[in-house]
Amino acid sequence: MTLIHILIFSLFVSALVLTASQKWRRWSLFIISLVSVYWLQPAVSLRQFSFWFPTASIGLTVIAWLITRHRERGLSREDLAALLFTALFPLLISLSRFLPEGWQITASRPPSIYLVVIVGSILVILGFAGEWLTKWSRLLSVLLGVVVIGVFIVLKIETLSVWASSLLRGVTGQSRNLAASTDLYWLGFSYIALRLLHVLRDYQSGRLPAVSFLDFFTFVLFFPAITAGPIDRVEKFASKMQNTVAPSASEYFAGTKRIVLGVFQKFVLADGLAIIALNSTNATLTRSIPWLWVLVFSFSLRLYFDFSGYTDVAIGIGQISGIQLPENFDRPYLKTNIGTFWNSWHMTLANWFRAYVFNPLTRALRKGRLRSNPALIILIGQLVTMTLIGLWHGVTWNFALWGIWHAVGLFIHNRWAVFLNARRDRIPPAFQTSKAMRAASLILTFNFVALGWVWFALPSVQMSWETLIRMFGGYR
């Protein structure tokens, strides 16, 4: 989101607060989300894919709802109206190709309406087929989950992205030789995927409540949260949508303050620190050890202000539109151990993986042969969970190692906590709660996290390793 996006969203939502009734507020949030999917998608080199990526996001959302909806509830008039509107909207966007250049909300001219009608018809047929295959809906949900994970993997593995780009370039009649992974910049897919997988998984386990299409769609593609989260849960979001009320003056003020704070964090602090944040160029060229540490600390702070700033903007816009999004950060760099760090850094992502990876995995391990070894269960659980969190950012060795770094840190902390608990009565309470102890823990945790970012920030394992060694005086 740029400053212009943020300003326009804020103004739209402010107008909404002053004018719309509860029913129309829901509809307005749904429509703004629908429009935003297209508006926020940046231009990509693949011809017309600044239209097709958002359309695919919408298509996946519609299919997911059709598969997982509670059939005994039937289709309400609102569901039908929202579905019809959603189906017609891409046609409307496609018609904008006849407007003068620059009048479209998509980053490039949309494709021919005939093409949109053909693809749309296929989707509608698939939708009806899904409706008829009620008894297979569980299988369909698994298939859709596989598709979502498959697309996610293709987008996150560079070799596969280039291959897919080459394939799509063949379809669009572009040069295959120019295929690049950046061609597949699908806005918000990482977040859309997690929301859809959460819904599909809850559907399979029978925990998914009945949600209207309008609420479901807005949950998956809610405009402030589509680019960088936070990741809400569908039942909570739907409840907020159903009970949305115009924010009070206090809430509006707090939301606006949050947006301003977020903008300051993102566009002043984060963008300022970005100049000196660790990257492959400055990591290679910097010879001085102290300045190398400064680059790493700058990256740490930059990442936090960038992400936390975006989250503040998203929560602020949500707040003034009457939807309270979940918190994502809680002063993570002021935490005194790696466990509490992960309870305060990208909290909604950590919660997602806790709910859908760590908990089921450790539950399963406890029932197996490892049940007598809880430490090993925790180690495996943390290694798998944190590695997957790392790979969610991109399927590279560096992200995997970043995840493993944290998994090892969490495990060591877990064992240390168990060790200390067993001896707590032997350690003077004054020492346990002393400011010096707290400060030392905070510094240790921050530095552990900051050093972990070296894996995250740099593109190769060798460069990261050499940088870490140089930070401690090696490789002179």
Binding site: A249, F253, W291
Partner: protein
């Protein structure tokens, strides 16, 4: 209690009237601060505030760079900020240093050279001492645009730092009066340039339409956001400069200077026989020498690449047809003799192998050879008679 209040992110009991008043006050305050800022015009003062020479070592050459992410450098037009970031700002003001300013275009700045390979740096590596025991210290004040008027502006600013000697490298491309004000650096400093033209009665137009005069809006904080961001970025880049010593991206490969030349006799729309002394800004050199007063100024016609390729019978290189350059050399020699300048012609000082991507950019070895020639010149000034 609403969920917002439960989150506890500073939610207060406030009314819509309060919000409107806050919005109104914010708008009024924002407008007032911008107006006061525009009236006070504090940018020159802000530009002098620098972390260089305090927290970061001063830069060895003036800030210039197109890609800050790779060169750790930035192009800006604020002369005071550029000097504030330069090592000359912390130059020893005592009598222990014999201070030499080296002024000129991109060949002096050191395009495609490491900051330790430029002419000034190579002069310093010779560790020369004057007869009275002072260390000779050269400062690179080159700037990569070709205009002797730009050089004059920098020379005058450099005088504040009490030089003992000024070495001014020039080439024909910096002389045509028609292109003197082409440099964005001069266009973005209209007041300084106009003042320079007026004070020295230079044959240049103070009303030239290329000057970018700021409007009132341009002087507000909003209008100057780009300049302010550049100043901020220059300070931040000090971290990368300190840590790496890098201030210029030198690509592994580049297009070499043209060996085969077009069959073109034109020089800045002048054809053979049409270029006259009046079309070249020799008055700017005279202004520089006059401005320096008692401080000796040595003017050097800098080395140029001499092609042996196609059409080299009519052109020396990409920049110069032979007729124009020969005319210029003769005129410069004549002007120097007539006006009593210290002038040395080094146009052939480097072999053709020691040029990189342009007819005036040197290899590290070329820079060393030229520096050696300049060192010999300096020695004439540091030895007691």
């Amino acid at each position: 209690m609403t969920e917002t209040q439960r989150v506890g992110k500073g939610v207060m009991k406030i009314s819509w009237g309060f919000i409107w008043r806050v919005l109104l006050k914010t708008f009024v305050l924002f407008a007032a601060i911008n107006i006061v800022y525009a009236l006070l015009n504090p940018l020159p003062v802000i530009g002098r505030l620098s972390l260089y020479n305090v927290l970061f070592p001063g830069r060895l050459r003036l800030p210039y760079g197109d890609d800050p992410d790779r060169s750790f450098n930035i192009t800006l037009s604020h002369l005071d900020a550029m000097f504030a970031a330069h090592e000359i700002q912390s130059a020893d003001q005592s009598e222990e240093e014999f201070r030499v300013l080296v002024i000129g275009d991109s060949s002096v700045w050191g395009f495609l050279l490491d900051p330790t390979q430029t002419l000034a740096a190579q002069i310093n590596q010779s560790e020369m001492q004057t007869d009275d025991g002072r260390t000779v210290r050269a400062y690179n004040l080159g700037y990569p645009t070709m205009s002797v008027t730009k050089d004059l502006l920098i020379l005058e600013r450099g005088l504040i730092n009490h030089p003992d000697l000024i070495i001014w490298l020039v080439t024909l491309e910096s002389f045509p009066k028609v292109s003197q004000l082409d440099s964005p650096f001069l266009q973005l400093n209209p007041d300084l340039t106009r003042e320079l033209i007026t004070r020295h009665a230079l044959d240049l137009d103070t009303e030239d339409e290329r000057f970018e005069d700021p409007t009132f809006w341009n002087r507000t904080i909003v209008g100057q956001r780009r300049e302010l961001a550049q100043l901020f970025k220059l300070q931040m880049l000090g971290v990368l400069w300190s840590g790496s010593g890098v201030d210029h991206e030198i690509p592994e490969t580049y297009n070499e200077r043209l060996e085969d030349l077009p069959a073109d006799l034109d020089f800045h729309n002048f054809m053979p026989g049409k270029l006259s002394t009046n079309e070249l800004a020799f008055d700017v050199l005279e202004a520089g020498v006059q401005a320096a007063g008692d401080i000796p100024v040595v003017i050097i016609n800098e080395p140029v690449f001499i092609s042996k390729g196609e059409n080299s019978d009519i052109r020396y290189n990409f920049y110069y047809p032979r007729w124009a350059y020969d005319f210029y050399r003769e005129e410069l020699r004549f002007q120097a003799a007539g006006r009593g300048w210290d002038y040395v012609d080094m146009w052939e000082a480097l072999p053709d192998t020691e040029f990189t991507d342009s007819a005036i950019h040197y290899t590290p070895l070329g820079s060393r050879i030229l520096a050696q020639n300049i060192i010999e010149l300096i020695q004439e000034f540091i030895q007691e008679p």
